[in-house]
């Protein structure tokens, strides 16, 4: 059997980066959510925020840890498997990654220790600053990685010295329009992912009649935030489409599912492509709209992918379906979050019993929607730019490490799959347990009051080795909560 180091390296990179992006997609938003909770607690003095903080910090710790360890893999894979890419574009991509490790990784990793262990070692303001630093670190990290990826999507401000790229204008690399529509798109995607996780957790508790005030707060904050961010995300998504039309026509035509040039062009909502025959077997489209989304006119001619030379076409199915999955999930997020705001406006959130159960179920089931949308969007962006690794400049096939043997990549790929499967299943199980066991409802003042009434407050969550599964179901003593 002939093992192709290129194909295997592509699979390995796709696998490790897809695995990795799940965690930042969650922790970028979660870090901001933690900083918000800490700020709210500092300002209002409401203990509920503090308890929510302590609860989500535990979830953050597990997710962040997995993000860190899977991220280290990414930092080295450019060299192990894509040494030609690293050598030729290192003068531009490398410094961007240096800035990421200097301004983001060290910042978040160092202050993360304070977050987990420093509560009683630093003043309150310093603890709050630490939460801000972690949130800032995750955001910086997203910026540098988007700057990096954007340069590979739309290379700017470079000249060639032999085969090597030399930067000519860093201002252009860091402040070009494409980067500044892609970075907000990623950031909003991460915030939405977290917003729906928080809202889903609230909905889950409400369905199980637990932590009612906290659950209602999480539901309201998550959905409220999503109601604002989802439309913004759609605008950002539209701008991303615009840069794609301008700079990466082949990707755009694939996303649109258009084989033949059309005038005026339809907008395909759904289709069943036959890649062999280079046509769609089944199509559901809206006339004129395709020309409109691409060029803002109703009768413009829109080229089809068949106008692109065969060796410059991306694979068809992944960008086509990835894009539709992302957009479909966006529409569902919009419906759900606006539905939630409508319920809130009608006062249905004041009494958790008046929130319709189907709505809670729908919100609960939406917890993975952000993750799937982020993954689908990235798959569209990355597969859609093939066969280039640096668009128009360096083909993926020319970027792979020349000395690489297929057997070595197969070995490393299998190892990564095994190890990631192990830690991913364990990690999700542990996060699930954390969420299921709920959190410490005791509040010094309330606990005393409860004791006077003869209610035993729930014991603090058994972290530090409390046997999972043996954590007692938190009592349904909603009276403990300050309403």
């Amino acid at each position: 059997m002939d093992l192709d180091p290129l194909a295997l390296s592509r699979i390995q990179f796709a696998f490790t980066v897809s695995f990795h992006i799940i965690f930042p997609a969650f922790t970028i938003g979660l870090a901001a959510w933690l900083a918000t909770l800490e700020a709210l607690h500092l300002v209002t003095g409401n203990g509920l925020y503090r308890r929510l903080f302590a609860f989500w910090l535990k979830v953050f710790a597990v997710a962040f840890g997995m993000g860190v360890v899977s991220g280290i893999v990414m930092a080295f894979q450019f060299g192990t498997n894509w040494s030609e890419l690293a050598r030729r574009t290192g003068p531009i991509l490398g410094p961007l990654l240096v800035y990421e490790s200097f301004t983001a990784f060290l910042l978040e990793a160092t202050f993360f220790g304070v977050l987990l262990f420093g509560r009683d070692r630093v003043p309150r303001w310093a603890y709050f600053v630490s939460t801000l630093m972690v949130a800032l670190g995750t955001t910086f990290s997203a910026f540098w990685i988007m700057a990096n990826n954007t340069w590979m999507q739309v290379p700017v401000a470079y000249e060639l010295a032999g085969a090597d790229t030399v930067p000519t204008d860093w201002g252009e690399i860091l402040f070009n329009d494409v980067l500044w529509v892609r970075f907000p798109h990623m950031l909003l995607g991460a915030y939405l992912t977290t917003a729906f996780c928080v809202a889903a957790t609230g909905a889950w508790y409400l369905l199980r009649h637990r932590h009612l005030s906290a659950a209602r707060m999480m539901l309201a904050m998550g959905l409220g935030l999503a109601a604002v961010l989802t439309p913004l995300q759609m605008v950002a998504g539209h701008f991303n489409g615009e840069y794609t039309v301008e700079h990466q026509p082949a990707k755009f035509m694939t996303m649109e599912g258009r084989w033949q040039t059309e005038q005026p062009a339809r907008l395909l909502l759904l289709a069943w492509p036959d890649v062999e025959a280079e046509r769609n077997v089944f199509e559901l489209g809206v006339p004129y709209l395709g020309s409109f989304v691409a060029q803002g006119s109703f009768d413009a001619a829109e080229p089809g992918i068949l106008t692109t030379p065969r060796d410059e076409r991306p694979p068809f199915l992944i960008p086509f379906y990835g894009f539709r999955i992302m957009v479909g999930l966006g529409l569902m997020m919009l419906a759900l979050s606006w539905g939630g705001v409508w319920l809130m406006a009608k006062g249905r959130f004041r009494d958790p019993k008046r929130i319709p159960r189907w709505f809670l179920w729908a919100t609960f089931l939406h917890f993975p929607s952000g993750f799937i949308a982020v993954l689908a969007g990235w798959l569209t962006a990355e597969v859609g730019r093939q066969p280039w690794v640096v668009y128009g400049l360096l083909r993926t096939a020319d970027a792979v490490t020349p000395s690489l043997s297929g057997a070595a990549v197969l070995l490393s790929l299998l190892t990564y799959v095994l190890v990631y499967a192990l830690i991913f299943s364990a990690g999700t199980l542990y996060i699930y347990r954390l969420l299921r066991s709920g959190f410490d409802e005791t509040d010094p003042a309330a606990a005393t009051a409860a004791a006077r009434r003869g209610i035993t407050p729930s014991r603090p969550l058994g972290v530090g080795g409390g046997p999972p599964g043996a954590v007692p179901a938190a009592p349904r003593s909603d009276t403990i909560w300050p309403q």
Binding site: A75, G79, T80, S83, G90, L116, R121, P167, G465
Partner: protein
């Protein structure tokens, strides 16, 4: 200007490696020693002594990787292709040890698994780093700015010896760290391991030095041409002797860690003194391998002049926040 910047970034790279070795060295070392201690309460304290800082420590490895990518992209691409398998092994080892900090407290039934991952991961990661340095010193096959060897070039006596040496060295740093950070039975246990590990390191250094001096005449020439280098092994010998004494007296708990760090510093300077300014010995110098001036200048004015000092300051502040002995049996966050 570009030549100066190449050396500036070479120095920052060297500093980052030193910081990494001294910081992640002790927490990898605690991980190595973890396998040797079966007492759950002591294991918790071992873990607790490094839990707030390990993540920041390990990030210096990423800093090293990205610095190579950004300032010396040729070295990044040659080095990582040459060490394809060991780097993969290192990454998997770091994953397994990294998740253990959270995972072992989330389960009782599967705790053995994460404990095994923690100890084995720490040991393998240390071994691989040592082997990579050994292979580097031995020489990497390069042709036309790309790696031209086989994936198993590093499996040779000298690199493997260096792998074992670094495991012992990190374990020494780890034991010294435990002496510094813990009390009672765990501290006594760590004191017990100090002289044993010290002896292991001394044996390793003697072997490594002998085989380098026997095999690599250019290093011998360098040492004879620059006799000040001989003060370094002298300092190392004094430090080792003091460390034996400190372990026997058990009076000042900060001493073993300071002395072990001094030992590492001298070993590191010997290595750097033998090869500077070669970055891949006898193939590429720092200046040959440097990224174009446009890249280095961009790095210099932001990352170099502004961010690096800030990093050093807040790292020191956070270590200050977590100063002192770990409270025994203190519950995990």
């Amino acid at each position: 200007m570009s030549l100066d910047l190449a050396h500036f970034w070479g120095a920052v790279l060297a500093l980052s490696i030193l910081i990494y070795v001294l910081l992640d060295g002790f927490d990898l070392g605690v991980g190595i020693l973890f396998a040797l201690n079966r007492d759950e309460a002591q294991r918790r304290d071992m873990m607790g002594s490094i839990a707030p800082v390990w993540d920041g420590n390990e990030t210096w490895l990423v800093v090293i990787g990205t610095l190579l990518f950004g300032a010396f992209p040729v070295v990044y691409s040659i080095f990582l292709s040459a060490f394809y398998l060991p780097v993969g092994l290192l990454l998997v080892a770091l994953i397994l040890r990294g998740v253990a900090f959270e995972f072992r407290y989330k389960t009782r039934r599967a705790r053995w698994l994460w404990d095994f991952g923690f100890a084995a991961g720490s040991t393998v990661a240390s071994f691989v780093q040592g082997a990579a340095i050994g292979a580097m010193v031995q020489g990497i096959a390069v042709s036309g700015l790309a790696f031209a060897g086989s994936p198993f070039d590093w499996v040779a006596p000298f690199p493997l010896l260096c792998g074992v040496g670094l495991v012992l060295g990190y374990a020494l740093l780890g034991a010294a760290w435990l002496v510094l950070k813990t009390e009672g039975r765990l501290r006594d246990w760590a004191y017990l391991w100090l002289p044993r590990l010290m002896t292991g390191v001394v044996v390793f250094v003697a072997l490594a030095l002998a085989s380098t001096l026997a095999g690599d005449f250019r290093v011998v020439e360098r040492w004879l041409a620059q006799p000040w280098l001989f003060t370094l092994p002298l300092i190392a010998t004094l430090a080792a002797w003091q460390l034996y004494r400190a372990a026997a007296q058990r009076r000042y708990d900060w001493r073993p860690y300071a002395l072990a760090s001094l030992l590492f510093l001298t070993a590191y300077l010997m290595l750097a003194g033998s090869f500077w300014p070669w970055i891949i010995p006898y193939e590429l110098t720092l200046a040959d391998a440097a990224a174009p001036p446009q890249s280095l200048t961009f790095l210099f004015w932001g990352a170099g002049v502004v961010v690096l000092p800030v990093i050093l300051i807040y790292t020191a502040v956070v270590y200050w926040v977590f100063r002192g002995k770990v409270e025994p049996g203190r519950e995990y966050h």
